[in-house]
């Protein structure tokens, strides 16, 4: 039983670390990427993968419990709502006529700063 617990704890900790890593990467992306679309993409990544895996890890730590169900529901909610928000943002901006950034770099930082 204790080995199972140890494995569960390790997996949970790994998931949390992965989540924190994605949050970090997403934040760096929001700060460093050149235009609106890529920044939206970074922010959405950090919500879905980061929050999703942190919540999964916490659910594993919690074990069988009503709180686990809540955590899983939260993860599902984040997985549904965050990409939708990113999609709606990018679509609205594209309809608004913002050109995506391309490599040559003659128009750096063309996003909504």
């Amino acid at each position: 039983m204790s080995t199972l617990d140890a494995i569960l704890n390790t997996v949970a900790a790994l998931l949390c670390i992965v989540g924190a890593f994605f949050f970090f990467v997403g934040t760096v992306g929001v700060l460093r990427l050149p235009d609106f679309y890529s920044r939206t993409h970074a922010a959405t990544k950090c919500d879905t993968v980061g929050a999703g895996s942190v919540l999964l890890g916490l659910a594993l730590l919690q074990g069988f419990d009503p709180a686990t169900l809540k955590l899983l529901l939260l993860a599902v909610l984040v997985l549904i709502s965050s990409p939708t928000a990113g999609h709606a943002l990018a679509r609205a901006v594209f309809r608004g006529g913002l050109e995506p950034w391309t490599r040559p770099g003659h128009r750096t930082g063309g996003g909504v700063s």
Partner: protein, 241 residues
């Protein structure tokens, strides 16, 4: 010169204020009257006396119900003020406002529309839960009403104003917006008639269910009123464009 006068005036005003501050019981001190008399009474006897398990609800709606009554009236008045300001500046605007609407309204993304339709029932259930369960757990009319108002705004943005407005039929919209003060006054008058005081809650232990019922009625009133007011302000500000 003016600056020096201002500084002197500020110093002059702040000195008596600082003196008064020094006479107050220390912030957070366990011996201040609020903690030795009022808080224990609320915490120990709140649930049986005021009718709700959640002491915060007891304080807001029962012990200090009069205060909250004025508060919801202020919220309603703010709606009236927003309407007055926005409608005043709108007269010549009507034609130019309706023209670009046809141009700028893009068709809504199917993804966003689907997800909003998928999540709306859950958000609505959560709002109703927060309102109805406010006397047991954290939450209540203000919070639940705000969640529902946010749902209305979301529906307006994604599904269009017409869909969202179906939830508030035009005939009773004014009544819904005034729901919070109206229910409060209704409960207050009911207390006046039945127990002799405005906003009086029955004291007898056998009437505990009446206390709880009245709390729930007020919570629902605040919730409906809050949701209507928030969405009405949003619509009035032209959020449908």
């Amino acid at each position: 010169m003016k600056r020096a006068l201002t500084a002197a005036f500020l110093v002059l005003v702040s000195l008596p204020l600082l003196y008064a501050m020094s006479q107050l019981p220390q912030h957070g001190s366990a011996t201040s009257p609020a903690y030795t008399h009022i808080a224990p009474r609320y915490l120990e006897r709140g649930p049986e006396e005021a009718g709700a398990e959640n002491v915060v609800t007891d304080v807001i709606l029962n012990y200090r119900g009069f205060d909250t009554n004025g508060e919801v009236t202020v919220i309603f008045t703010s709606l009236a003020a927003v309407f007055a300001v926005l409608l005043a500046g709108r007269e010549g605007d009507e034609r130019s406002a309706s023209e670009p609407r046809a141009r700028t309204t893009p068709e809504v993304s199917p993804v966003a529309s689907f997800v909003v339709r998928l999540l709306s029932p859950f958000v609505a259930i959560f709002a109703v839960y927060v309102v109805m369960n406010g006397h047991i757990s954290p939450g209540g009319g203000f919070q639940g009403g705000t969640v529902f108002g946010a749902l209305l705004i979301l529906a307006t943005v994604v599904l269009g104003k017409a869909t969202a407005e179906k939830l508030q039929p035009a005939r009773i919209r004014g009544l819904l917006q005034a729901a919070a003060p109206l229910t409060f006054i209704a409960v207050g008058v009911a207390g006046l008639i039945m127990f002799g005081d405005y906003l009086a809650f029955p004291k007898a232990a056998a009437l505990a269910w009446v206390r709880t019922l009245w709390l729930i009625v007020i919570e629902i009133g605040i919730g409906v009123g809050g949701a209507s007011i928030i969405s009405a302000i949003f619509w009035q500000m032209g959020g449908d464009r």
